[in-house]
């Protein structure tokens, strides 16, 4: 690669932490904070259900619960049926939802709606509390449902 003029400004750990919102599938990046299914239910009904439907079904936007499993004639890409990692729910909701006001929920609120979505998909009990540790521990039903095409791309 051609040599550059080295104009990059060193980034401090604080700079980085302020921007880094990646959550890794092993839980790396999960913030402190926590939320319950019940809190999530209330948040969901007021901030999410308008598009995604009550209980994550029947809205104008993507369905977030239910759905047919991989291998069935009409498989769905819903969280419980398809998503390999629960951490992805936290990562995505925090960065992108609600779509009309992204970044408006605080981390505990994101834990709470994530908990409610996992509950709707039968992956958490109604009384559950979610935090970094409990979220990283969840094994999703379709965890092994993917085949990496890269780098062995046929």
């Amino acid at each position: 690669a051609p040599e550059g003029p080295r104009l990059g400004r060193p980034a401090s750990p604080q700079d980085i932490a302020a921007q880094d919102i990646t959550i890794f599938p092993d839980g790396g990046g999960l913030p402190t904070g926590l939320g319950t299914v019940a809190e999530g239910h209330a948040l969901y009904d007021s901030h999410c259900a308008g598009c995604h439907g009550l209980k994550g079904m029947g809205g104008s936007a993507e369905e977030l619960a239910g759905g047919a499993p991989p291998g069935s004639p009409h498989p769905d890409r819903t969280i419980g049926a398809y998503w390999p990692y629960a951490t992805t729910v936290f990562d995505y909701v925090r960065r992108a939802m609600p779509i009309d006001a992204p970044r408006s929920l605080n981390d505990s609120q994101v834990y709470a709606v994530t908990a409610y979505l996992l509950y709707l998909n039968g992956l958490l009990g109604a009384q559950a509390t979610l935090d970094a540790r409990t979220l990283a521990a969840i094994k999703m039903p379709n965890r092994d449902g993917f085949q990496r095409v890269w780098p062995g791309h046929p």
């Binding site: 080295r6 104008s60 449902g145």
Partner: protein
């Protein structure tokens, strides 16, 4: 005078002139100069077709009208769009690119910094992994060709080789992926293998000569020649080197392809060879028997197009089309073939072969391999039926 050296022909002279009425635009001064031009008002059908979510109008797509275009360059105003939450209005002086994670020196770069870096230009296509996905449907979609296959566009991208920036940050030996993130309201994130980042990835700043358009990533985006568009992260703000992919929503829940086995293809990055006939195509109409020029586009994420063949009998026999120079790797290639229509109904097809020898598959072959639920990476041979009245339709044949 009436037989002049110049004309060699008798001229009708004054009387005929007096009869002639020039068109109005030869009798009145035309419009003034403009600082930035626009298409003719008579070409108002040459537009991106928008399909967006009414509840979230920045979420959706718009297609390039490839059935209206010729050559290989897509004008910037017609580059296809895929936004997850609209087009951010980014002030370039407020925007920086942060490179961190498994690097030796985490660095951030301003837009003006990057404009001083070594630049490389590349004519290449950008194609959405979901392009042409109507092909998976049980019934052939009836829509103009660009609104079927036009989540693909081709531009001259100019940018800083990502490898140049990674030289400056250094990469730790464990770094295998770079997680790219956009500064849009979706903060779209995707994981890019380090091999590609070091090979031919660009942090693009210019598109067809001018700075990137807002909808195509202004002030900077990733360009990964030949790889599905979602990885070509727009509005790039952050690159995080990591040992494993982030398993972001768009590399798990989306842009993966369920197969009949129940196992989904993931990290299916390369856009395989594709071709289709843009002229004639549905919505056009042949004006009776006679000579036509078949024209179409072919491309491959693996390199150059080697050959395009065209069939006018539904695939029984094939003729080799001419490839318009320049033929460039991971770039639209225009193919053309003269064709004489006898007025009978028939089926037109095109088939691309790339420099690796990969042959664009018939639809039945692709469906047999992938089933009907893949949604992404549809690249089968496209068939247009020509009816006796000269109209065209999309068929599975």
């Amino acid at each position: 005078l009436r037989h002049s050296l110049g004309t060699g022909l008798a001229l009708a002279g004054f009387e005929a002139m007096a009869d002639a009425e020039p068109p109005p635009w030869m009798k009145t001064p035309g419009a003034s100069f403009t600082n930035y031009g626009h298409p003719s008002p008579f070409e108002k059908d040459a537009i991106r077709w928008i399909s967006a979510n009414p509840g979230a109008p920045g979420n959706g797509i718009s297609w390039t009208p490839l059935h209206k275009l010729e050559g290989i360059v897509t004008p910037n105003g017609l580059h296809f769009e895929r936004h997850h939450n609209g087009v951010p209005r980014i002030d370039p002086d407020q925007h920086r690119l942060l490179i961190h994670g498994l690097v030796k020196n985490p660095l951030s770069f301003g837009v003006d910094d990057l404009l001083r870096y070594p630049l490389v230009s590349r004519l290449c296509f950008v194609e959405c992994g979901g392009n042409s996905n109507a092909g998976w449907h049980a019934e052939p979609i009836q829509t103009p060709a660009g609104y079927f296959h036009g989540l693909a566009s081709c531009s001259e991208w100019t940018g800083v080789p990502l490898a140049t920036l990674l030289n400056e940050t250094g990469l730790l030996p464990q770094a295998r992926w770079l997680i790219a993130e956009g500064a849009d309201a979706d903060a779209l994130n995707m994981s890019i293998p380090v091999e590609k980042a070091l090979d031919d990835a660009l942090v693009a700043l210019y598109q067809n000569g001018e700075r990137l358009r807002p909808e195509n990533g202004y002030p900077m985006r990733i360009i990964l020649p030949g790889w599905e568009a979602v990885l070509n992260v727009k509005w790039l703000r952050r690159l995080q080197a990591a040992q494993e992919p982030a398993m972001a929503r768009n590399e798990t829940a989306q842009y993966t392809e369920p197969q009949p086995s129940g196992i989904a293809r993931q990290f299916s990055f390369i856009m395989e060879a594709k071709s289709f006939i843009t002229h004639p195509s549905p919505g056009h109409r042949l004006r009776g028997p006679g000579l036509y020029q078949i024209s179409g586009l072919a491309w491959s994420g693996r390199g150059k197009i080697k050959r395009v063949e065209v069939s006018a009998d539904g695939g029984k026999s094939w003729a080799e089309a001419a490839l318009q120079e320049p033929v460039l790797a991971q770039c639209f290639t225009r193919f053309r073939l003269p064709w004489r229509w006898n007025g009978q109904p028939l089926v037109l097809k095109s088939r691309a072969v790339d420099e690796t020898g990969y042959v664009q598959p018939e639809r039945s072959v692709l469906i047999d391999a992938r089933g009907h639920n893949g949604y992404f990476h549809y690249n089968a041979i496209v068939a247009w039926a020509v009816a006796a009245d000269g109209s065209l339709s999309h068929v599975y044949a």
